[in-house]
């Protein structure tokens, strides 16, 4: 156990580095870290006693602790214990002040802490609820604006493939658009996620340290390129080059229905749009994955290596399990961007309204691109119809996120806090 005089903040950072592997992999009552500090603060009471006293008091005294207790997840026990500890120990405001203090569950000191805490908690909670209200308003707005158009629609909104919202009578449906949106986003993510994780691993683990930060910066550069530029680049630079690759895929992998163009020719296809989208979401996923991998306690990695693991085995056993929820979250952000991307897709895709699995054919359209293309000249019904399609995108994002959350929920056990 260390004995050097540390300020609380110092103790904090050191905690990252000095964490032991067992302590982090299985959430248990962290007797060591909590005991460490009272040891320095007071010499009168032994650490063990302080904790047990606090625990016995926690139910009666601390409201905050009680709130924490109500969580289902097991690692919250640690938090509640330490919250209880906090309640029973007076605040040590001055850093580096090592004079022994008395530990007493002074009732007079509590309301002061409690008030500030309650205020802060309520502030954050208000922000959270404010966000819900905002989202509610947006949803309400979308529904209200979409309603007239949907009731005027002569076709089936979910199965019609054409978009004749400005015609009389209006006949429009979201089927082809939704298909194109999902197809292009899925292909984009299938390309982007492995590459992004590879980049993140390269930066955090493989690259020399000095090079790593420079490289991280280079990847961020991709995120800084505005989407209209990706669109122009995709249309003017990539598309002409890409035809060769598409022909090649068609020639040699045409037996896979996906790559078959039949009688037609290749062109500005869903595949091209997916590649542009993949390049756009790549930096988002890579940057966040990198941050997540950087948070993997160095001790985990070193422990794995010390046990004789190869670098890959270290990644597999220490880095990936720890970072997986974060990578999934990052991918969801990327998916959101890919599905909602407007201008780049509108520039690249020829916007046809049909459902086709032949991703190399010059065809396809997405919801967001259709909004951008059609909004300018749309009449009232037309605008409502476009907003209705935006609402569909909203719902689809919801469903996809539900699935992602279910996946993350299974992976809770490895992360530092409830993932």
């Amino acid at each position: 156990m260390t004995t050097e005089p540390d300020s609380p903040a110092d103790a904090g950072t050191r905690g990252t580095g000095s964490q032991t592997t067992p302590a982090a992999t299985e959430p248990s009552v962290p007797a060591q870290p909590t005991a460490e500090k009272p040891d320095e603060v007071s010499t009168d009471v032994t650490p063990g006693e302080a904790v047990s006293e606090a625990v016995s008091e926690s139910e009666a005294v601390s409201e905050t602790a009680a709130a924490s207790d109500s969580t289902a997840s097991s690692d919250r026990t640690a938090a509640s214990v330490s919250a209880a500890v906090r309640e029973s120990v007076p605040v040590s405001e001055t850093k580096g002040d090592l004079t022994p203090r008395e530990i007493s569950p002074e009732p007079g000191a509590k309301p002061k802490i409690g008030l500030a805490d309650t205020l802060f908690k309520n502030l954050t909670r208000t922000a959270g609820i404010g966000l819900l209200v905002l989202i509610g308003l947006i949803a309400l707005f979308l529904v209200l604006r979409a309603w007239d158009a949907l009731s005027a629609n002569e076709g089936n909104f979910f199965t019609t493939e054409t978009w004749g919202a400005n015609d009389t009578p209006p006949v429009f449906g979201v089927a082809a658009l939704l298909f194109g949106t999902l197809l292009s986003a899925v292909i984009a993510l299938a390309i982007a996620i492995p590459v992004a994780v590879g980049i993140a691993l390269f930066i955090t683990i493989y690259a020399p340290r000095r090079m790593a930060s420079a490289l991280g910066y280079v990847v961020d550069l991709l995120a800084a390129v505005p989407s209209v530029i990706y669109g122009l680049w995709g249309l003017l630079v990539l598309a002409p080059h890409f035809n060769g690759t598409q022909m090649w895929l068609n020639d040699y992998f045409g037996w896979i229905p996906l790559f078959d163009v039949g009688e037609g020719s290749v062109g500005r296809s869903v595949f091209l749009a997916s590649v542009v989208l993949a390049i756009m979401v790549l930096p988002i996923i890579a940057a966040l994955s990198r941050e997540v991998f950087l948070q993997v306690p160095i001790t985990h990695r070193e422990a794995a290596l010390a046990l004789g693991a190869t670098r890959w085995e270290m990644i597999r056993t220490a880095v990936i399990p720890y970072g997986k929820p974060g990578v999934i979250s990052a991918s969801m952000l990327g998916l959101g961007r890919a599905m909602g991307e407007t201008i780049a897709v509108a520039l690249v895709l020829p916007s046809t309204f049909n459902i086709s699995w032949n991703i190399l054919k010059p065809a396809g359209n997405t919801i967001a691109a259709n909004v951008a293309n059609g909004f300018g000249e749309a009449n009232d019904i037309g605008r409502g119809a476009l907003i209705a399609s935006g609402l569909v995108l909203f719902v689809v994002t919801m469903v996809v996120n539900m699935i992602a959350r279910a996946v993350i929920a299974r992976r809770r056990e490895f992360s530092g806090r409830a993932a």
Binding site: T2, A9, G12, G15, P27, P30, T34, P38, A67, S70, T71, S82, A83, V85, R86, V89, A116, K121, L123, T124, R125, L131, L137, I138, L142, R145, V197, G198, L201, Y206, L222, A223, P226, S227, V228, I229, T245, W248, I284, E291, Q295, L305, A306, G308, A309, R311, I315, G326, S329, M332, G336, G340, V371, G390, L393, T397, M398, N401, S415, G416
Partner: protein, 353 residues
């Protein structure tokens, strides 16, 4: 085992060769040459000419060859390790291709017009075929709109993230966290429509830079919340507990320990959000309208913005306008990179020591 003990041999993977054999560099070189040669042959036969594809096939062949050789010489574990190393390096190189291609395209086309004259003049009084003009008004607009949006979105998003991670229990926080994800998929034009419908039409406000920043805020918040939430979650509980054990109040622990620890990650998230909204065209088209003259006040009158400028100039038939669009794009990228640099520097300074 105490917490402070360091592993003795960090180079443990080198002792793996129980058979005492490693793949020598010449062998790897030979595999690489073979891969290139085979790909070249493949290209002659199939007669397709894409350089990117060439690189991809070489990579594929090289990793196959290397894995086979490594399995024979070094054993399966080492072979797997080598394969992953190759794939990781490969994916990095792969990502560099579009990056370099996009940047080269932008720099090549943008450098033509990018000079002080361009940076310090507006488009006022520039006719359709005139070569002059600049982007000063658009830079001001973008800086003010994105700045205002960040001022609103970052504190708001951080508070929400803190609530979700530190206080959030039960249904409300699950619902909030869920809908934040949903908000990430909101097409930007819908955010613009929302502000147009509520702020401008229903509340009778004019087109202003501020209206634009409201739309950008809606787009920024979910990205800030999501990335900050992810980073806060990764702060080890031991830190919080150590702080609580010292009797530090919860809110102080959050502000002084938890948030600063996660700060570099949060800054990355914020910069991603800034980078994303700084390039948004569609919501601005509906809310700030655009302007050819300089308007310093984001709360009064129409403003321009760089993405709007790029969009409108790129759609013109004249080459002079297209040149201006590329130069503006280059400027936008440079501005975001500078902001990124400053933010990172500040974050590294503010980090707990």
């Amino acid at each position: 085992m105490t917490a402070t003990t360091m592993p003795a041999a960090p180079a443990g993977h080198q002792s793996l060769n129980l058979r005492g054999q490693t793949l020598r560099t010449p062998v790897l070189g030979a595999i690489a040459v073979g891969a290139v040669a085979l790909t070249a042959l493949l290209y002659l036969v199939t007669s397709i000419h894409s350089r990117i594809q060439f690189v991809l096939i070489v990579l594929l062949l090289f990793s196959i060859g290397q894995t086979v050789a490594s399995v024979l010489v070094e054993g399966a574990r080492r072979a797997r390790d080598r394969l992953v190393t190759t794939l990781v390096y490969g994916s990095f190189l792969l990502a560099l291709i579009p990056l370099v291609a996009v940047l080269v395209a932008v720099i090549e086309r943008g450098a033509k017009r990018l000079d002080m004259d361009f940076l310090t003049h507006s488009m006022r009084g520039i006719g359709a075929r005139d070569a002059g003009g600049g982007i000063y008004h658009a830079i001001i607009g973008t800086l003010e709109q994105v700045g205002l949006a960040s001022l609103m979105a970052v504190p708001f998003g951080l508070l929400v993230a803190v609530y979700l991670v530190e206080y959030g229990t039960g249904r409300i926080s699950r619902v909030i966290s869920f809908f934040v994800d949903v908000l990430t998929g909101l097409p930007s034009i819908i955010a613009g429509l929302f502000v147009l419908g509520f702020w401008i039409l229903a509340l009778g406000q004019p087109f202003t830079g501020f209206a634009g920043s409201l739309a950008l805020t809606i787009l920024m918040v979910p990205v800030v919340v999501r990335s900050a939430e992810e980073m806060l979650k990764l702060v080890p509980d031991e830190l919080r507990e150590a702080s609580y054990a010292l009797g530090v109040a919860r809110w102080r622990t959050i502000l002084k320990i938890v948030v600063p620890t996660a700060l570099p990650g949060i800054v990355t998230g914020v910069m991603l959000a800034v980078a994303r909204v700084a390039g948004e065209t569609a919501p601005l088209l509906l809310t700030v309208f655009g302007d050819n003259s300089i308007n310093m006040n984001p709360f009064d009158g129409e403003q321009s913005a760089l993405p709007l400028y790029i969009y409108s100039q790129a759609g013109q038939p004249q080459q002079v306008a297209i040149d201006r669009a590329w130069a503006a794009a280059l400027t936008l990228i440079i501005i975001i990179m500078l902001l990124n640099l400053i933010a990172r520097f500040v974050a590294s300074r503010a980090k707990v020591k």
